[in-house]
């Protein structure tokens, strides 16, 4: 395996009655772009602050480059943070902000101004050294904040929703720049966001967090295609989540399941008679006039929703549940509302996210928007 740079072991943290983190462990590889993704209040910022040393965990340990730094002051740790609201020093100009870390290390003045100049080049703000933070736009402040935190050559750079306050276009541009910086400097990034698109297109690995623990830690594609938990399936992308009963297991890892008065296939493990919760991405569902091998599921086209690039179709199943399908809207062969269709998908696309739980039939199927 690759070299580990940071390791969090069994961290717990409470604020009064609120359990912000429950037994969280995380290993970060050297040079990787790791994203913690989750809704607000899931504990991702607390995790970051514990790594930075701005919070002390109630239990557990933090190892940085093999050393136990759990009780180290933040100024002793070789990690730096890009704060959500930039946190620039308002009474210092751009050069003084960026050079502050070096000034604290008693680096000679000439060396500081040379390095500051370098950093300004790196974040594409040459000539801005004399400006005050109040004279900069949001995107420029963000670049200064990044330059300021990179000047100490941290082993790990922590970024707490750094693009959250920027508008969509600027955010896309900054995503690309951050990725470029990370590759160029080969610094480990731990990045926090609640924006799934940002997480999917920037990260080497994503940790999906919910209610104080990490639900799944995997590569973006794995997270998207094979969510391990119901929460991961719901939070990222759009899924049909429903329960089905295993009828029998075939030898090749394929399950035959009863669902909505029909038959569907899934890849995975299950014992006959067991009720499982499945997640199927809306764009993986196919429908047409002829049934696919192994599937026997009828539905009626209930409505079409045009959403720009995508056409979202709702299919009504015989037992009253619905499935949502999204696809390209341009085709001429699209089914009319009221048409009877055969529904199917690649068995590998139905992912079992919960096993052995009994769900009330009327709640069994819902479409979740990510």
């Amino acid at each position: 395996m690759e070299e580990q740079i940071l390791s969090i072991e069994h961290i717990s943290k409470s604020f009064g009655e609120v359990h912000a983190l429950k037994d969280v462990s995380l290993q970060v590889r050297k040079g990787e772009f790791l994203t913690l993704l989750g809704p607000s209040g899931c504990g991702k910022t607390t995790t970051l602050r514990i790594i930075a040393g701005l919070e002390t965990p109630d239990e557990g340990k933090v190892f940085l480059q093999g050393q136990d730094v759990t009780n180290w002051e933040p100024n002793k740790r070789n990690v730096n943070t890009v704060f959500q609201n930039y946190a620039l020093f308002p009474h210092m100009n751009v050069a003084a902000n960026i050079g502050y870390g070096l000034k604290l290390r008693k680096v000679p003045k000439g060396e500081i101004s040379r390095r500051v100049e370098e950093m300004l080049q790196l974040v594409q703000l040459p000539g801005y050294d004399k400006r005050m933070p109040s004279q900069l736009s949001g995107g420029q402040r963000q670049r200064v904040a990044i330059a300021r935190s990179l000047i100490n050559n941290p082993a790990v750079l922590l970024l707490d929703e750094p693009l959250g306050a920027l508008d969509l276009q600027l955010r896309r541009q900054m995503q690309g720049e951050l990725k470029r910086l990370q590759k160029q400097l080969e610094i480990t990034f731990i990045y926090i966001t609640h924006d799934q698109e940002e997480a999917l297109n920037m990260s080497d690995r994503i940790g999906v967090m919910n209610a104080g623990h990490i639900e799944q830690l995997d590569a973006p594609e794995e997270i998207y295609e094979r969510p391990k938990t119901r929460f991961a399936a719901e939070f990222i992308g759009q899924s049909n989540i429903f329960s089905a009963v295993v009828r029998r297991a075939c030898g090749d890892g394929t399950l035959v399941l009863d669902f909505a008065g029909g038959t569907i296939l899934a890849k995975g493990e299950g014992t006959p008679g067991e009720q499982v919760t499945l997640s199927v991405r809306t764009e993986r569902v196919r429908f047409g006039q002829s049934p696919a091998q192994g599937f026997d599921l009828q539905g009626t086209v209930q409505e079409h929703n045009y959403t720009g690039g995508l056409l979202r179709t709702t299919l009504l199943l015989p037992d009253g549940q619905t499935l949502t399908v999204s696809g390209m809207g341009g085709g001429t062969d699209r089914a009319q509302v009221g048409d009877q269709v055969q529904i199917h998908w690649n068995p590998a696309c139905s992912v079992i996210v919960e096993r052995g739980e009994i769900h009330a039939p009327e709640r069994a199927c819902e479409t979740v928007q990510g």
Partner: protein, 259 residues
Amino acid sequence: MRKNRTILPEMYLVLLLILLYLPIIVVVVYSFNDSKLFQWSGFTLDWYRELLDNKNIQQAFWNSIELAVISSVMAATLGTVGAVAMAGRHFKAKGLIENVATIPIMIPEIILGMAYLAFFTLLKIPFGMITLVLAHTTFCVPYIYINVKARLAGLDPSIGEAALDLGASRRRMFFDITLPMIAPAIASGTMLAFAMSMDDVVISFFATGAETNTLPLQIYSMLKMGVTPEINAICTLMLGAVFLIVALSRLVRLRRRTG
């Protein structure tokens, strides 16, 4: 809407300003009057010249300056340290302590004055400059405390955390980041304290000894003989100083807003 604008609001404003400033203007004008009586008999600077020769008034003036500078600086230090320390702490009695610490602003001065008199007598501290400084410092602390506390509450805590994160010790963070950011609040609080100390009569009356006179006390004792043009001249000078300080304080605030 019907158009029924009258000049009533304007008249009200003018009347109010006249009420506020007429007595003051009269004092200023009569300080240049070449007569001890109430008729105007020509412009003169004699009263100001006389002021310059009056050793009692000069002594009292320098006493007041000394007192105001020392007590406002001491109050600034105490108030700032207190506000900074309290901002970083959370405990049950915090609200109570903060209230108790700022109540002296609302206590009538006469009661505070009597309290100081009784207290200093009890401690057998000789009355004079020392007791004046102690009393003035005490009643000035809340003004600075409140000012600095409000500024600290408005600060983004992550700015300080960013300094720690970049390698600053907590001490370094305070001097590099926190102090420059609360400096305008300290400055305007100190100016307020200076002004409060400068014009205080009641508390000084109780807290001073026979030897030490402050300017307001001196004016008060001179008034017992009647309003002389000399008093008008002192008052005019003090007014000028007050307007200057107010203007400075506004300037500081303006710079804080734009800076």
